[in-house]
């Protein structure tokens, strides 16, 4: 099997619009969460959300290209430009090689709602405009990135709920391991508009701690009361090791293991067995001792049952070994389809800069989180291997293990 490495990263998130900005936000423990008054006017139980600026791409992309892009495709474009630049890839390279694209995305609600509103109001489908169909398909991110960057390898959207981004990277790694692709642009994107999460708010999944937005996302804390929706996009360039060496690429890390499983039970409530299986599979495929893992980036979203069952799963696998476990969602909220990819980047930034960001708002453990080592203050620590979990609705689970290079 071929070795798989990461040679570039790029991000557009509530913690920053570049790797440097995001690193600084992680280091200082800055929260990206705000209270959105528009959501309250719309009747949301919770108006809490991550704050993301939609990039203005006028003058960068043509009018026609922009017309086909919903917000998450714009985030993904910016993240991918940064990732390709950092990987030393230019358009000439993309034009001459069959570079693949696997990106996590599991909704495109806003353009679909707008098109339906137009049809209902105007009784004329032409007035939806040319972009509506391309913006409202689930594959909108991959169809847009693929055509903008002229990518001619595999081109697929991975829809695995809140594990989409993680599965995209894992599946990309598998395609490279088996020699089917030399390089794949992998990542995850998440729209942030109110329509996209209105029905999610409706099942009481969100924190209502509106008097203190920055305190609302509190994974593993005893007093957590739900997640805070976030979003943006994150891109990693996944590449075959020898290929990266040959072209003199900056080799940042190696993807050692990808584990996956499905719970096959409840649609929203996770169990312990499924995530445990994903963890075990990733570790086995990585071929390492669990003692080599220096940091665990948890999926923990700040929901009661989710965090509890993940804490149990991590304890099942790691026992009393004291490895720092944090959820960066304490700062970002839940970036959903993007989360698996962004959390690889957050973890990479920590690994490259010798620190572990605080699990902010972790003030009191519950019975299960008390068994884990969860720092609520930043730790200055060198580590060379981390594990990242992503779990999603329907019980889909993904675990990635990455080693520094």
């Amino acid at each position: 099997m071929k070795r798989v490495v990461i040679t570039g990263m790029g991000i557009w998130s509530c913690l920053g619009k570049s790797l440097d900005e995001v690193r600084d936000s992680l280091y200082t423990g800055r929260s990206g969460i705000i209270l959105d008054p528009v959501r309250k006017e719309m009747g949301f139980r919770s108006g809490l959300t991550a704050k993301i600026d939609i990039p203005d791409l006028k003058g960068i992309l043509s009018r026609s290209q922009r017309a086909f892009m919903p917000e998450q495709a714009k985030y993904a474009y910016c993240a991918t430009v940064e990732a390709l630049r950092n990987a030393g890839i230019d358009q000439d390279y993309l034009d001459k090689h069959d570079v693949g694209l696997l990106y996590g995305n599991d909704s495109a609600v806003d353009p679909a709602v707008r098109a339906v509103d137009t049809i209902r109001e105007k009784k004329d489908t032409t007035l939806c405009g040319s972009g509506a169909i391309f913006q409202s398909m689930n594959s909108t991110v991959t169809m847009n990135l693929g055509t903008i960057f002229h990518l001619r390898g595999i081109n697929l959207t991975i829809s695995g709920a809140c594990a989409s981004g993680s599965h995209a990277i894992g599946l990309g790694a598998l395609l490279i391991q088996t020699g089917l692709q030399d390089m794949i642009v992998c990542g995850g994107a998440q729209e942030v508009n109110p329509f996209s999460v209105g029905s999610f708010d409706g099942i009481s999944a969100f924190s209502t701690r509106e008097d203190a937005p920055e305190k609302a996302s509190r994974p593993f804390d005893r007093d957590r009361d739900g997640l805070v929706p976030g979003g943006g996009a994150a891109t990693v360039i996944v590449e075959e090791y020898e290929h990266a060496v040959k072209r003199g690429a900056p080799i940042l890390a190696e993807i050692l293991g990808y584990g996956f499983s499905a719970n096959g039970e409840h649609i929203s409530s996770p169990n312990v067995e499924g995530p445990s299986k994903s963890l075990y599979m990733a570790i086995e495929r990585a071929g390492i001792s669990i003692d080599e893992i220096g940091y665990i980036n948890a999926h923990a979203t700040s929901t009661h049952v989710g965090d509890t069952n993940e804490a149990k799963a991590i304890y099942n696998v790691f026992g009393d070994r004291k490895i720092e476990v944090t959820s960066t969602k304490s700062q970002t909220g839940h970036e959903m389809w993007m989360a698996g990819a962004s959390e690889i980047i957050y973890s990479m930034l920590m690994m490259k800069n010798d620190f572990i960001a605080a699990n902010i708002n972790f003030e009191n453990p519950d019975e299960d989180s008390a068994k884990l080592l969860i720092p609520n203050k930043r730790i200055e620590k060198h580590f060379d291997t981390f594990l990242s979990n992503s779990f999603g609705f329907g019980g889909t689970n993904a675990t990635l293990i990455v080693r520094n290079m």
Binding site: K58, R63, A67, D124, T126, L127, C128, G129, S130, G131
Partner: protein, 79 residues
């Protein structure tokens, strides 16, 4: 709306939406070539005209509206 005023508005909104210099829009010029419209962006011109002038042009009627002058006349009769 006076026709002169209507023409000025049509030129202005089309130039802004399709990101061309307004000076290249002349009465006899072909709309698709001047605004660099393909079959998809042509749909967006119909959306723009409906939202700005309240006039729906059916795609099948476009064969009669090839030049800007034809567009001015078409809208002048309906605005």
């Amino acid at each position: 709306m006076e026709k002169k005023e209507l023409i000025a508005k049509i030129n202005s909104v089309l130039a802004e939406e399709f990101e061309v210099e307004e000076s290249i829009i002349t009465p006899e010029a072909n709309i698709k070539k001047t605004l660099m419209l393909d079959s998809l962006s042509l749909v967006d011109m119909l959306v723009l005209i409906e939202s700005e002038f309240g006039v729906k042009i059916q795609p099948t009627e476009l064969v009669k509206v090839q030049t800007f002058e034809a567009l001015y006349d078409y809208l002048a009769e309906r605005v």
